[in-house]
Amino acid sequence: MKKIEAVIKPFKLEDVKEALLKYGITGMTITEVKGYGRQQGHTEFYRGAEYVVEFLPKIKIEVVVRAEDVDGVIKAIAQAARTGKIGDGKIFVSNIEKVVRIRTGETDEEAI
């Protein structure tokens, strides 16, 4: 099993969720994060004093999937999250050794 972590623009969450549902994914966990990257932060003005916000709000989506689904899921996310403008975010894949569903005690692929 693999964990796919995608850092995306917040207003794309809805689209990405829809894409994942369409793909057949029904579980995911999301976190509000801040991102630092090539996308320059934006500038806020408070009483005329510039204040550069370097850490921009992003959403991190975590989905654990069967290994064979990795490529499909990546594609689904990437398509839905792309705006083509800088700061669209990244997808990271890592290995998951074990999964347990707390309610039932089911494990691994059954538990996803």
Binding site: Y46, G48, A49, Y51
Partner: protein, 407 residues
């Protein structure tokens, strides 16, 4: 003249309004502008200044300000702890009002003046230092200056006019804020990161509301001047806000809520000394100039000289109060209160006492604030540890945080 019930109703209501301006209005306004991690400290600075100043007012402040004049400089000590004043007495300074009420109304002015200063020192001052400064400053700056202008002292003899506190309130606190901010030094993170603009909105709204009592109540009764003062105050406020927002729109392409609110406060502070003397037209011009001049002070002046007047007490209140005290000499209309400004045939006759008053009060505030800060630095020290500053004063000094969310 004897006690007039309707006048007392208006001034007691006004007193409630001015109290509201300190707590919660100013506390929220300043708290909302402060970083989240120090916002409670900021609010407490306001409230604790209110407590200390009010107490000293009862102890000797009222007496020093409004006791029998001694050489034009200070009041006598005859009213120490309001000694000998009965609830049924009329006020010597306003015989239509109960003496208690006059003292009470003026108390709320003393208190908010000290509290105003706090805005320049937030996010880095020792709490004990602030308490000592409050006490010393009220005693050595506010009480004397209030006497000079409102208590029958030498500035009132000279003819300096200040309807509701352009000099007594805004100039003293604004200039001392600037001096203090310089002596205290810049914050480690010297930028404005408002924890909550909705709190700033509440503060602005309640300040505006309270200003009905501040300026309207300064007529010390219900009469044409009271109504006019309240009216022109609101006019300067909404024009100030609108113009400030417009300046931002032009300069930065973004009209901000903070700009709108700041302009409202600038309009209010600036009209204050003039509010009993100018008419609707004067108020409009004052509103526009309040925004232009304070905007310049906050944006350009401050950036040029790099002092960390954190919440712009000098830029808004100091500059506004001085501006208003000058504009009074131009726009005072005899129709309103028998004072003739330049544009209503009075020539510069009112300008000289205004400028003299501004200069004297300004210099006095600078000198005294320097001394008070030096003394406080010696006794207590002015600044918290660097770590405490970065951690946030709420945790470090008060062991609290503004918001708690359980999981």
């Amino acid at each position: 003249m004897s006690i007039v019930a309707a006048d007392n109703v208006w001034i007691l209501t006004s007193t409630a309004f001015v109290l509201l301006m300190s707590m919660p209005a100013l506390a929220l306004f300043y708290g909302g502008l402060t970083k989240t991690k120090s916002m409670l400290n900021t609010m407490m600075m306001v409230v604790v200044a209110f407590c200390i100043t009010s107490f000293l007012w009862l102890a000797y402040g009222y007496s020093l300000s409004f006791g029998d004049d001694l050489g034009g400089v200070i009041g006598s000590l005859k009213y120490l702890f309001l000694n000998g004043i009965s609830p049924k007495d009329a006020a010597p300074a306003a015989e239509n009002l109960y003496h208690y009420l006059f003292i009470f109304f003026q108390m709320t002015f003393a208190a908010i003046t000290v509290a105003l200063m706090a805005g320049a020192f937030v996010e880095r001052m020792k709490f004990g230092a602030w308490m000592l400064i409050s006490a010393l400053w009220a005693t050595f700056v506010y009480f004397p200056v209030a006497h000079w202008i409102w208590g029958g002292g030498f500035l009132s003899d000279m003819g300096t006019l200040d309807f509701a506190g352009g000099l007594v309130v805004h100039e003293t606190s604004g200039i001392s804020a600037l001096v203090g901010a310089i002596m205290l030094g810049r914050r480690k993170e010297a930028l404005m990161q408002p924890s909550s603009l909705p709190l700033v909105a509440i503060g602005t709204g309640l300040l505006w509301f309270g200003w009905f009592g501040f300026n309207g109540g300064s007529a010390l009764g219900m009469n044409a001047q009271a109504v006019s003062a309240a009216f022109v105050t609101t006019i300067a406020a909404f024009i100030g806000g609108f113009v400030w927002m417009g300046l931002e729109w032009i300069k930065y392409k973004k009209p901000t809520s903070l700009g709108l609110f700041t302009g409202i406060i600038a309009g209010l502070a600036t009209i204050t000394p003039a509010s009993g003397f100018v008419d609707v037209f004067g108020a409009m011009v004052i509103g526009v100039l309040a925004a232009l001049i304070c905007f310049w002070a906050v944006v350009s002046l401050k950036n040029r000289f790099k002092y960390d007047d954190s919440l712009d007490v000098f830029g808004v209140h100091g500059v506004g109060g001085i501006t208003g005290a000058i504009l009074l000499a131009l726009f005072a209309k005899p129709d309103v209160a028998d004072v003739k400004g330049l544009f209503y045939g009075g020539g510069l006759s009112q300008m000289w006492p205004q400028l003299a008053g501004i200069a004297i009060v300004g210099i006095y505030s600078v000198v005294l604030t320097v001394v008070i800060f030096k003394i406080t630095d010696k006794i207590i020290g002015l600044r918290v540890e660097k770590d405490e500053e970065v951690e946030g004063l709420d945790e470090a000094i008060h062991g609290e945080k503004a918001y708690t969310r359980e999981f």
